[in-house]
Symmetry: D2
Subunit: 345 residues, 4 copies
């Protein structure tokens, strides 16, 4: 089969690889129908994640058709259409039982990272019963690719951890794909105001079409002052960090109201300064989270009942064998006005 | 009347002051029976809180007898014995209605700080109906002084925010009075193991008598390694910071398990380094809080039913007019083996 | 002044009454601008609530202008426009501090019941600081009358107690004004499906315009069978009872799924049969609640930000002095296709 | 092997049965070391559960040694000592993922009911990875038999669902084994007062030794009046029903305070009368639950750290081949002063 293979920092190729096979009775092999590229994949390709080794097939998102199952797999059979979760969950370790699949003792985020991934014609999925989700006939499978990672990530790390409530004023810092997923899913809880902050006017425009009530270009305005002005000096009930930089995290520290939440989604490479000299008395809550995908079934119901249209996040389409070209487009997201790209096998 | 008055950094005096009077219909004047000294009072006396002005009467803890009430006070009348809360709550602003009394629009922590306090023969209590708590006949009033500040502080900021649960392994960093209050009240939720970390062997000994299951002297051992060894490399479910320094906060970052809580109690004067480069994916929750005293009624019930003995925290007794001497003792807490001192009028 | 006065079962009159006066420093007198009639008022007029005595002015909803305040009232002053809450809250008893205003030691539902109410030109409001809510200039005051009772009742007793979540399937049994308020406010939490059950086709039509996804006329179809068919035999996550009869409560018992919620809103005059022989093992939660109006500030924000349009609930308008005629219309709600009537002074 | 076999109402025998074998890759076969008898087993033996068929091996509690495992079992291997959960959980259906194992699509309570159980020398355990719990060397295995059913039942259905909090006043109605388990585990949350109600003086005496603060013999006193007198007319924060009769459920309705909880544990054979004519406005919560055993790991930690001594519940010992005699003793619990009996293989 063909797959996108990492060969060290800056080197990747669409090349022939052996078909994946069932290794354990709980495995499934899935034929990929649609996949996509994540910001994390760009980091891997740059060599930022040294634990990814030469020869690894990249990608942790996608929908497909079950090709083969181990003898202990009971939820799925050959021919079933499935969403592949970016997080592998055994369902039987201490953390899985708590719903913290991200820290599964035999899983977590491993796909396209510690084991071969989904930017390929076929992929092996360990613990298939707990790591795949069924797709009924007739569903819009392209939209459902957004359920592999981006929607649960925005929702769990941003919206749920931010404890967004009806009537809240919230800020989302970063209008990339995950920030947009937080923007869409925050509306499940009917906040009164949603302020989106970014440095890219195009993305801010898109945020408005996704019902942001206010946008701030932080390269042109003082974001803290603007937020304080919009909130009568109170700050926001939830500040959702969807960038992963010290500056954006500290912005969240500045704009959160007393009793409010800072919900981190961003992947950080460095430490940040936590201003405990002011925050100690502010009754705030800061959360971090690697997505658990525990809400995938709930999100799936909201998609099927058309409460959310994840397809809105898709800006570009490619054939799977055009994956190198798709990386180029996604890697120049601002210039290309790209959010999510879809690769169709 | 006589009172302890702040006269600028390093200067204090026990001197004559005018009797407090009712200023608003919601005020009460209380005659002090017992009061105590808080670590914060030491900071004020050093001049660390410049918003405290020359002439201020210090102190925010105590029990007393109601001497006079404004015409809108209905919960209390002259002669009632009362616990004075360190936090003033109007009961009718947005934050009070949410139970966040610490950020009351016309209150919060003001006593012995922005208005005259309790290290005096009499004190005026604004919003008396919501800021005093009744004491029934026969109660041990000395023990109840611990309900003014220290017990709700340890419990709300440390135990509740740390979400301590039956079977948890928790660490309390700092075995001063507030850390000890967290130690006592954490046992309301039956954690399996309580590790107390401090640099003072005497305090660690006291912690053991308060049912700490393990103690670590962090000046003699590597606390992180010891905690990891005690927890089979997992870390603690809740790390309660009761010091207020960058080093102790960072220790909490190191020892908290995936999915765990860092509950800050300490008053911090400087920023701390938050290691988001590792914590971003660890599903942790960090909380800060100025005590709300919203749990005072609950704590009061546990004291009356003898589930907790706050008196254990009292190490020294003085007459109220010996307050200067009491400050000397409390200011040398380690040498004097002092936790809480009681001043009796 | 003029007021609607109850004179025993079946007897009411629009007649002259003395102007209300400030009795306690926490009182306010409010001039009524708009008021409405509640289903409970009909029960009072029939004599079903014998604790209501001859001479009582009825009504517990409305907006108005503060005319006078006691000397302890600090949140409001003469001339302020206000929403009157149907529940009086002292803000300083044990239950108020827990947010359970409905069981306030010096309040709860007393307006137009134990003390004179709002179907009058003026009304005295005890504990005004905690029982009135400010209206900013320019707001649609007619819509805000719905915040006195009906919206918080549907939301707190039905939606919050039913723990409605994104993706849920819920049923609302009873499409009267309060059931409709539950229908509108349930959408704050984005359920996937909302099934509304009633015996009045007109109300079911209205429910559809309020975004019910399915309606069932239980006088024409077997509601239990229909719900089970719509939910693949599983039943609903939340069954909201908005009628107050044994039959409708038992319907909720039949249609709730394992792990689901029955949230009672209806005022019941008789006991109901609880089928514990089947329910004991079904992991369900049943709640009852007299509205606390603790969510009024939150609801108010959602109205101001246009997330909900309570005006949709208003079907008829009268002048305040036409109140007798308004009762006739509201008393024949089905025939008159009435939900809420507005009386304007 | 030998096993206790049900042969229709009133007929049981200790007889030879075929050894259980692995049927699915997720099964394990366990050799029983210790088992016990549950009140439900008595009902089965009387013929009250007609779904139990002739030939069924009874029993759903026990500890043992893993004899054999299917090829998909990874948490356990031959020779491991294990606690058998009374509830079978597949870990991969919708309900298991929510932690509602009791309604597992391929499990729930089936052991000794729909499939052969633990009152035998060997037992097959489906979904072994999720339905067994490891026992470390040196643990007191007899005490751990209480973790199969009785402790999680009392804790989950009674204490957790009753939302017992520090300072609460609670009542436990029924001092049989499960009521006693609720009594022991309620103390994890430090209620101020625990009132135990039963008709058996011996059991009430035992309850006192388990730290009940008050006991009421409801055959000799009016329990409602006594509870109201003990609570100054307020009633209890949580009323835990551990009997399963209409009268005891209605007692809970009478004694629960406004805002309180009725947590049902009892297995009911008939409907009960729910007094909605008074309860509709009382802000109460009623819960039902078939134990999920989701707290078994947490309970296990509290046992290992000696926060609870489940052995206190054991009153009688027998050899496994004396099981018929053990049934006689347990069937005359009041006369024999029996709580739990232990059968040792």
């Amino acid at each position: 089969m063909k797959a996108l293979v990492y060969h060290g920092a800056g080197k990747k190729a669409w090349e022939e690889k052996p078909m994946p096979v069932i290794q354990k009775p709980t495995d499934a092999v899935v034929r990929i129908l649609k996949t996509t590229i994540c910001g994390t994949d760009l980091h891997i390709m740059k060599g930022d994640l040294p634990e990814v080794t030469d020869g690894r097939i990249i990608g942790h998102e996608g929908v497909g058709i079950v090709e083969e199952t181990g003898n202990a797999v009971s939820n799925f059979k050959k021919g079933d259409h499935v969403i592949i979760s970016c997080v592998t969950s055994c369902g039987k370790c201490e953390n899985c039982k708590k719903g913290m699949y991200s820290h599964c003792a035999d899983g977590g985020w491993i796909l396209g990272y510690m084991i071969d991934g989904t930017q390929a014609e076929y992929v092996r999925i360990p613990h298939a019963d707990n790591s795949l989700y069924p797709i009924p006939a007739g569903a819009d499978e392209e939209a459902l690719v957004m359920l592999s990672d981006i929607l649960p990530t925005g929702f769990e790390c941003g919206v749920l951890n931010g404890q967004v409530k009806p009537g809240d004023v919230i800020a989302i810092v970063g209008a990339g794909p995950v920030g947009m997923a937080a923007l869409l899913t925050s509306q499940f809880y009917t906040p009164a105001e949603i302020i989106v902050i970014d440095q890219d006017d195009n993305r801010l425009e898109v945020a408005k079409t996704f019902s942001a009530t206010h946008t701030i270009n932080s390269s042109k305005e003082n974001a803290t002052e603007k937020v304080m002005s919009l909130t009568n000096g109170k700050g926001v009930d939830a500040a959702i960090e969807a960038v992963g930089l010290a500056a954006t995290f500290e912005l969240c520290e500045e704009i959160v109201t007393a009793g409010g939440h800072i919900a981190n989604i961003g992947v950080h490479g460095k430490s940040v300064t936590l201003h405990m000299e002011t925050l100690w008395s502010r009754n705030i809550t800061i959360t971090t989270r690697l997505v658990d995908t525990v809400t995938t079934p709930m999100l799936y119901k909201t998609v099927l009942s058309k409460k959310i249209e994840p397809k809105q996040l898709i800006t570009h389409h490619f054939r799977l064998d055009q994956v190198i070209e798709a990386y180029d487009t996604f890697g120049n997201a601002a210039k290309e006005k790209a959010l999510k790209v879809i690769l169709t096998a």
